[in-house]
C-alpha cells in the first residue's frame, strides 16, 4: 500500500427489476424467448403508441432506494434521452434526468478479512429507465448485417450511481457483493449477471502524489465486465495501465476526452471503445407521454417498515445472539435469507451457535455445492440435524462419525436416530472405555514412558489403536482417560 497514488473508483450498476411485464407495456420480460416475440407497438416505438407506467416497477425501485438510505423526493418525472442506435427503435430512451426518484443515499461496506476499514459508499442517485434491445453480430460472417432482437426493449432497469468513494478494486468488489446481496434480500431482482439482470460500469482514475502536488489522471469508464471477479481484475489492470501511461506521457485529467474501455476476458486487459458522447449530447427533455409521479411521506414510511431484516442488521444479530465471529456471520448471511433461517433453526435447536455454524459452513454448504441444490431442497431438515448435533455435543458420537451419519441422512432422508441404529453405531459406555484404555496402556510401556517425560502428544498412538478396536469411541474421551490413568501411575 505504499504506492504513490490514491485510486478513485465510482460504479454505475444497472439492475433489471423483477416484474412480469415491461416498464411501459404489457409485453413479457421473461428471459430466453425466441427473438422478437415479446414486442408490441409501445416498446418498438410505433407512431402514436403511448407508454403507461408499471406500478410494480416503480414500487420495487422505491423499495431499493429506501434500503439504500436515499432521500425520496416528493415529485419525480420522466425524460427522453436521445441517441441513435439500432437496438433503440424509438430513437430515445425513457429515463430520468433532473428529478430522479431518489438521491443522496449510502451503502455501508466492510471486509471480514480486514483488508479495508468499514466505510459508507455514497449513492448519488438511483433512477428508473427502460432497457434497450440486443444486437447480435456474427463475427465469422465478416461484414454481414447485425441482427436485432427487441425482446428486451422496455424492460425496467434501476440505475444505481455511486459516489467515487471506492479506493481499491477490492472495495469495488465488496460494494457490488453487498449491493447484490441487498437486492436479493429485498427480492427486487434476480441479479443474474449471465442473463444481463445486473450490469456494471466503472469509472476510475488515479490521484498521484508528485513533488508539485497531487495530479489526477484522465477518468476512464470501463465496460463489458461479466462477473464481479472481472470487475476487480479490470480495475486492477486499469490502475497499472493508468499509472504506466502517466509515467510515459504525463497526461492529466482534462488533457484528453473521457475514454471508454472494454474489458477483454481473453487477454485480461482493457481495450479502447468508442469515446463517450458528452452528457448534453443526449439532449434530454421531459417525456410528454408520461405524467409525473408523486410520493408521500406515508408511502415511504410504509415501504421502510416492509423492508424486513437487511443483511447488515442480520450479521450483527447472528454475532450477538449466537456468539459467532463476524467472518462466520458474513459467510452465512451472504448465502441468502433461506440459509440463514436454516442456520437459526439449527442453532436454536442444538443450543450451540458455533457448532451449528461449523456444520452449516462445512457439511451443509458443501452438499449444496456438490448437488447444485438450494437449501430448501436440502434433505436433512434443521430439526433433524439439530438432534444429531445434540448427540455430538454430548459426546455420544464423535464428530467424524457424526459426519458419516449426516451423509447417510442426506442420502436416505432418515432421521439421525434411525441412521445411528442402522449403522450399528452405539455409544461406548464409560466403564468399557476405561477397560479398553487400561488394556492399551499395559500393552504400550513406551508410550507411557514418553507421556511421563512430558510428551503428551504420544498418547495419540493409543487413540489410534482404540479407534481401530472400536470405531465408535470418542477420541477426546480416550485421550482424557489415558492421560488420567498414566498420571495415576499405571
Amino acid at each position: 500500500m505504499s504506492e504513490p497514488y490514491t485510486i478513485i473508483i465510482g460504479l454505475e450498476v444497472h439492475v433489471q427489476l423483477d416484474t412480469r411485464s415491461k416498464m411501459f407495456c404489457g409485453c413479457s420480460t421473461a428471459f430466453g424467448a425466441p427473438p422478437n416475440t415479446q414486442t408490441c407497438p409501445v416498446c418498438i416505438g410505433m407512431p402514436g403508441a403511448l407508454p403507461v407506467m408499471n406500478r410494480r416497477a416503480f414500487e420495487l425501485a422505491l423499495k431499493t432506494a429506501v434500503a439504500l438510505n436515499c432521500e425520496i423526493p416528493r415529485f419525480t418525472k420522466w425524460d427522453r434521452k436521445n441517441y441513435y442506435y439500432p437496438d433503440l427503435p424509438k430513437g430515445y430512451q425513457i429515463s430520468q434526468f433532473d428529478l430522479p426518484l431518489s438521491q443522496d443515499g449510502y451503502l455501508p461496506i466492510s471486509d471480514p478479512k480486514g483488508r479495508f476499514e468499514p466505510k459508507r459508499i455514497g449513492i448519488i442517485r438511483a433512477h428508473l429507465e427502460e432497457d434497450a434491445g440486443k444486437s447480435m453480430h456474427d463475427e465469422a460472417a465478416g461484414v454481414a448485417d447485425s441482427r436485432i432482437d427487441l425482446n428486451r426493449c422496455g424492460t425496467p432497469l434501476l440505475e444505481i450511481v455511486s459516489q467515487p468513494d471506492m479506493r481499491s478494486p477490492a472495495e469495488a468488489k465488496a460494494y457490488l457483493t453487498e449491493l447484490k446481496l441487498l437486492l436479493n434480500y429485498l427480492g427486487v431482482s434476480d441479479c443474474n449477471m449471465q442473463e444481463g439482470s445486473l450490469r456494471v460500469d466503472a469509472n476510475i482514475n488515479l490521484h498521484i502524489d508528485t513533488p508539485e502536488g497531487t495530479v489526477a489522471t484522465p477518468i476512464v469508464e470501463v465496460k463489458n465486465m461479466n462477473s464481479f471477479r472481472a470487475v476487480e481484475r479490470a480495475l486492477e489492470c486499469e490502475v497499472r495501465r493508468q499509472y504506466e501511461l502517466w509515467q510515459q506521457t504525463g497526461q492529466k485529467l482534462g488533457d484528453v476526452p473521457k475514454q471508454t474501455r472494454g474489458w477483454d476476458e481473453a487477454s485480461q486487459t482493457t481495450r479502447p471503445q468508442r469515446s463517450k458522447e458528452e452528457s448534453s449530447d443526449y439532449r434530454y427533455f421531459p417525456e410528454p407521454d408520461l405524467v409525473p409521479v408523486t410520493t408521500t411521506e406515508e408511502q415511504v414510511e410504509r415501504i421502510r417498515r416492509s423492508l424486513g431484516e437487511l443483511p447488515a442488521a442480520l450479521r450483527s444479530r447472528l454475532q450477538e445472539s449466537y456468539g459467532i465471529t463476524p467472518y462466520d456471520a458474513d459467510v452465512l448471511v451472504n448465502q441468502g435469507r433461506n440459509l440463514v433461517d436454516y442456520y437459526i433453526e439449527l442453532a436454536e435447536g442444538c443450543g450451540d451457535g458455533k457448532l451449528a455454524s461449523n456444520w452449516v459452513q462445512q457439511d451443509v454448504l458443501r452438499t449444496l455445492g456438490e448437488q447444485q441444490i438450494e437449501i430448501a431442497e436440502f434433505p436433512a431438515p434443521a430439526t433433524a440435524l439439530a438432534r444429531l448435533l445434540d448427540m455430538v455435543r454430548a459426546g455420544k458420537i464423535t464428530t467424524s462419525r457424526g459426519r458419516e451419519v449426516l451423509a447417510e441422512m442426506i442420502t436416505s432422508g432418515k432421521s439421525a436416530e434411525e441412521v445411528i441404529k442402522d449403522m450399528g453405531i452405539e455409544q461406548v459406555d464409560d466403564s468399557a472405555l476405561q477397560d479398553l484404555c487400561r488394556e492399551l496402556i499395559e500393552a504400550s510401556p513406551k508410550v507411557v514412558a514418553q507421556v511421563k517425560q512430558g510428551r503428551q502428544k504420544a498418547v495419540g498412538a493409543l487413540i489410534g489403536q482404540a479407534k481401530k478396536k472400536n470405531p465408535n469411541v470418542n477420541p477426546a474421551r480416550v485421550r482424557e482417560i489415558c492421560l488420567e490413568l498414566i498420571g495415576n501411575g499405571h
Partner: protein, 97 residues
C-alpha cells in the same frame, strides 16, 4: 438567442441528418427565427413560478404488472426494410475502435 451554423451542424449530426450547405444556411436562419420567437417568453417574470414538468395537471398514472399478448413476430417484422426469419437486419455497427 441566435443559433450558430456550427450548432446546426452539430445538431444535424446528432440527429443523423445529412444537410447540404444551402440547407445548413437555411436551417440556421429558420431555427434562429424560431428561437427568437421563443425568446419572447423570457420577457415574462417567472421568478415565483415552479417549472412545469408536464402539460397535464395529472400525476401517478399506473398500470398493474400484468402480461398482455405481444405482437406476432411476423407482424412486428412486417415493415422492416431488411430482416431474416427472426430478426431485424441492420448494417453492422462498429462498437469498438
Amino acid at each position: 438567442m441566435a443559433i450558430s451554423r456550427e450548432q446546426i451542424e452539430k445538431v444535424s449530426l446528432l440527429g443523423r441528418l445529412l444537410l447540404s450547405e444551402e440547407e445548413l444556411d437555411k436551417m440556421t436562419g429558420q431555427l434562429g427565427r424560431i428561437l427568437g420567437y421563443v425568446d419572447l417568453l423570457a420577457e415574462v417574470d417567472t421568478e415565483q413560478v415552479e417549472p412545469m414538468a408536464h402539460a397535464l395537471d395529472v400525476s401517478d398514472v399506473f398500470r398493474d404488472d400484468e402480461v398482455r399478448p405481444s405482437l406476432d413476430r411476423e407482424q412486428a417484422l412486417a415493415s422492416a426494410p431488411n430482416r431474416d426469419d427472426e430478426c431485424y437486419l441492420v448494417p453492422a455497427v462498429l462498437g469498438e475502435l
